[in-house]
């Protein structure tokens, strides 16, 4: 269609051709106008909710003064960033964010793959279905509810851990979970696994069941053990899913689940050295300490690094497996 309209442009158009073009254009416009109008509400929302904040990242280079307003507040160069790194808080938050994410990626994926393979191997259909349904329950809950559950376990005076589980192992001295930071990397990894394994194992399971069953049958005829089937058929079969999920998670390595790190440790200041992440740092600096400078500087770095990591991870995905890339 477009080629046809382009070709006659080379010579001068006659009057009738011109009016025909105009008519066509007007018809096209009238036809598409309702579609453009439909786009308006969503576009307005994206501008307010997404694009204005992107531009707003620049306040990291300003000294915000509410009496002057955001636009008139003076530019201060990099001083917010200098202030941000004047003590080690931000670096600890960054370290925690990255290390937790690495732990989550490793544990989460290994565990989800094991569960997915187990689901695929189970013989009883109903048992399989019930397992899948139940595993998603923790994923369905809000973090607030999860924080109640964790407190029921870890409450130092009447929690289930100190009163029932630890005595089983002969530990009678109650542990003050919310005062000692050394336990939290383990606790948060377990809570993360508990909340998310259902979700990720179902993603892997849908990949495992798409593997052609005849491979397994042929392997068994050749005398392959269960272990050999897993290593040589299942894992290669779900390799694209593994690569995609891991790389997408690496793309989000600068971000953390705010609720997990904010609510589950009960805002205990004693635990910040192992529970503070960039997201809780930014929140606390902005809304609890009213320190716009530091929070905006930390947020700026998170957004920029996040963007770089997402782009990088996607480039890798599209190199390894074009189908699974986001773009």
């Amino acid at each position: 269609m477009e080629k046809k309209t382009k070709a006659p442009k080379k010579r001068a158009m006659t009057a009738s051709e011109k009016s025909y073009q105009r008519l066509r254009r007007r018809r096209r416009f009238i036809r598409y106008l309702p579609l453009y109008i439909m786009l308006l509400p969503g576009a307005a929302y994206l501008i307010i909710n997404n694009y204005l904040p992107m531009a707003g990242l620049l306040i990291a280079f300003k000294k915000v003064n509410y009496s002057l307003g955001l636009f008139k507040s003076p530019w201060v160069g990099l001083s917010n960033f200098k202030f941000l790194f004047s003590n080690s808080d931000a670096l600890i938050a960054l370290r925690n964010t990255v290390l937790y994410n690495l732990g989550f990626i490793l544990l989460g994926n290994v565990f989800a793959i094991i569960v997915a393979i187990a689901l695929d191997s189970a013989k009883n259909r109903y048992f399989k279905r019930i397992s899948q349904v139940v595993y998603l329950i923790p994923f369905l809950l809000s973090t607030v509810i999860v924080s109640y559950i964790v407190l029921a376990f870890l409450n130092p005076s009447n929690g289930f851990m100190n009163n029932t589980i630890l005595p089983l192992f002969g530990i009678d001295k109650p542990i003050k979970w919310y005062n000692e930071s050394k336990y939290w990397p383990m606790i948060l990894n377990i809570v993360f696994l508990w909340m998310s394994f259902g979700y990720s194992s179902i993603l892997y399971y849908s990949s495992v069941i798409s593997i052609d069953k005849t491979y397994y049958e042929a392997a068994v005829v050749d005398g392959a053990s269960v272990w050999q089937q897993i290593i040589h058929i299942t894992l290669p079969g779900i390799k694209p899913t593994i690569i995609t999920l891991v790389l997408l998670a690496i793309g989000r390595i600068c971000y953390s689940d705010f609720g997990l790190f904010y609510l589950i440790p009960q805002h205990s200041g004693l635990l910040y050295s192992t529970t503070q992440t960039i997201d809780t740092f930014v929140y606390r600096a902005l809304l609890e300490l009213n320190d716009v400078g530091r929070s905006s500087a930390a947020g700026f770095l998170q957004s920029i690094m996040g963007f770089i990591f997402v782009l990088g991870a996607n480039m890798l995905v599209s190199k390894l497996d074009k189908e699974s890339a986001l773009f």
């Binding site: 096209r28 036809r31 598409y32 309702p34 579609l35 439909m38 786009l39 509400p41 969503g42 929302y45 994206l46 909710n49 997404n50 204005l52 904040p53 707003g56 306040i59 393979i117 187990a118 191997s121 189970a122 013989k123 349904v133 998603l136 329950i137 923790p138 809950l141 809000s142 973090t143 607030v144 509810i145 109640y148 559950i149 029921a152 376990f153 009447n158 009163n163 029932t164 979700y199 179902i202 397994y216 269960v226 089937q229 897993i230 705010f258 609720g259 609510l263 009960q266 805002h267 930014v282 929140y283 902005l286 716009v292 905006s296 947020g299 700026f300 957004s303 996040g306 963007f307 773009f327």
Partner: protein
Amino acid sequence: MVSNNKTYNFFVNFLLATLIVACIIPFWLLFVGSVTSEDYLLQHGYTLFPKEFSFSAYQYLWGAKDSIGRAYLMSIVIASIGVVANIVLTVLFAYPLSHKDLPGRGAISFFLFFTMLFNGGLVPTYMVYTNIINVKDTLAGMIVPYLLMNAFFVIIMRTYFTSSIPGEVLEAARIDGANEVQSLLKIVLPMSKPIIATIALMTLITYWNNWTNGIYFLTTRTDLYGIQNYLNDVMNKASFLQSHMTGLINAKAVPNISVRMAIAVIAVLPLMIAYPFFQKYFVKGITLGSVKG
């Protein structure tokens, strides 16, 4: 997997069964905590089997039904408005994008997609919603920021429109003189019920579970709290009381342990009752993520 290895089969069933228990026990603990007497809880802690039954926690809740009921009602109002608005915005944005011949389609798609790659984060978003468009301490603060439209769902919906609705049907409608609005309402929407239901469910759960908008944007109007923020507030007051045993705030104002557990049980209950009915769509909703949009 083909296996007649008894040890392996045993291990598989054992693992799956253990995980079922691991998913359920925490709820059981909450529930037992809510029906155990406060004295027993304080002395012996949580147990798997209730030793001293007491429904005083639920009696207390019945007495406080006004505040809990209001939080519940707010959650329902917020989630209903949010889901409807979200679906309307999503459909209206996805439908034009499903027209392959729409001039500027590529640019508009990028405009949408870019929001998935890059975002301003909390500080500028907070500034926009408190200084430019003020939603602080309003119902809109619970509904509008972050949640009203999700680029990912728009892309899923657009893909559904292009792949599951035959172009011939739309072409025929146009020849018969239907305009775009008519095609959308009379043809596309009725044929897209499954995807709309799935996205609506995922959005509903997101709104129901959201508590961050409450702590970001509601500072004085705690009467607008939904059930999640209400729960969080109870928890904060209780831990404040625990760390400041100075009688600064009225101890009676904070529900005791079994009551807190009872509130949590009541907050989870409707979701758990409804879950078996919607779990099919829920699974569909989360596996949408693994299908490229």
